[in-house]
């Protein structure tokens, strides 16, 4: 797909660049740009967080980002430019973790492409988040299984719970 930019950015080297993302997805044909910016927040599930480390399996993550771009293109069915960038390494509170930007002729397509891309990045890309807490403790986040059989089993489990209530 033309008009697709994917990147993994090591925090020690640079921060994610929102202006560059918006510039990249701009086009004379496009009247709508939607973006999603994920930042590191100072708490999670009642615990004070001091920072996050992101671990990535980079070659596969970039392939997954490109596949997400292709899917977004097929899904919106309109001209699209898309930017997907994720940070790697140790991040402080307020640092940018992920930047998605989608440019399309109209707003509906831009919102849909942006939403599809961020949800797919969260659920499908080989990226892991480790939270660091005030007391010096650290923990890897729970997360979504990429194992096909396991995903299927968990889907049934969730369906069972839903019926149970």
């Amino acid at each position: 797909m033309d008009g697709l930019h994917v990147a993994v950015v090591e925090r020690r080297v640079a921060t994610l660049d929102v202006a560059a993302a918006l510039d990249f997805v701009g086009d004379p044909r496009f009247g709508g740009i939607a973006s999603f910016i994920g930042r590191v927040r100072d708490h999670n599930v009642g615990r004070a967080v001091t920072g996050i480390s992101y671990d990535l399996f980079e070659p596969l993550a970039l392939r997954v980002f490109r596949a997400i771009g292709e899917r977004a293109q097929a899904e919106v069915g309109a001209p699209l430019k898309l930017w997907i960038a994720h940070a790697k390494g140790r991040l402080a509170i307020g640092d940018l973790a992920v930047v998605i930007a989608a440019g399309t002729p109209h707003r509906d397509e831009a919102f849909r492409a942006c939403r599809l891309a961020i949800e797919a990045v969260k659920h499908e890309a080989p990226i892991w988040k480790q939270e660091h807490y005030v007391d010096g403790d650290s923990a890897w986040s729970e997360g979504c299984s990429l194992c096909e059989e396991q995903r299927e089993a968990e889907r049934h489990e969730h369906a069972g719970h839903a019926h149970g209530h």
Binding site: Y54, L60, V121, H123, K129, S141, G143, C147
Partner: protein, 86 residues
Amino acid sequence: MKIRIALYGALREADAGGHVELEVPPGSSIAELRELLAAYLAVHAPAIPAGLVRRSAFASAEEILHNHRAVPEGIELAVLPPVSGG
């Protein structure tokens, strides 16, 4: 054959060097590799929760390798615990 597996996320805690090497019978499937890795970690990294390998995916740099696939020879694999990006 010897298979080298890179560890990511919570599975990095299993080895300071970030990878393990397993002796795998030729013609093994990914499902069999999963059992071998789970058994290895139960001995060498007992702090890793037993269910984590079951919830993890195996992959090459190109793609996820599902359970029925044969273990490819001569390339390093990666084991990917449940993901939490964004």
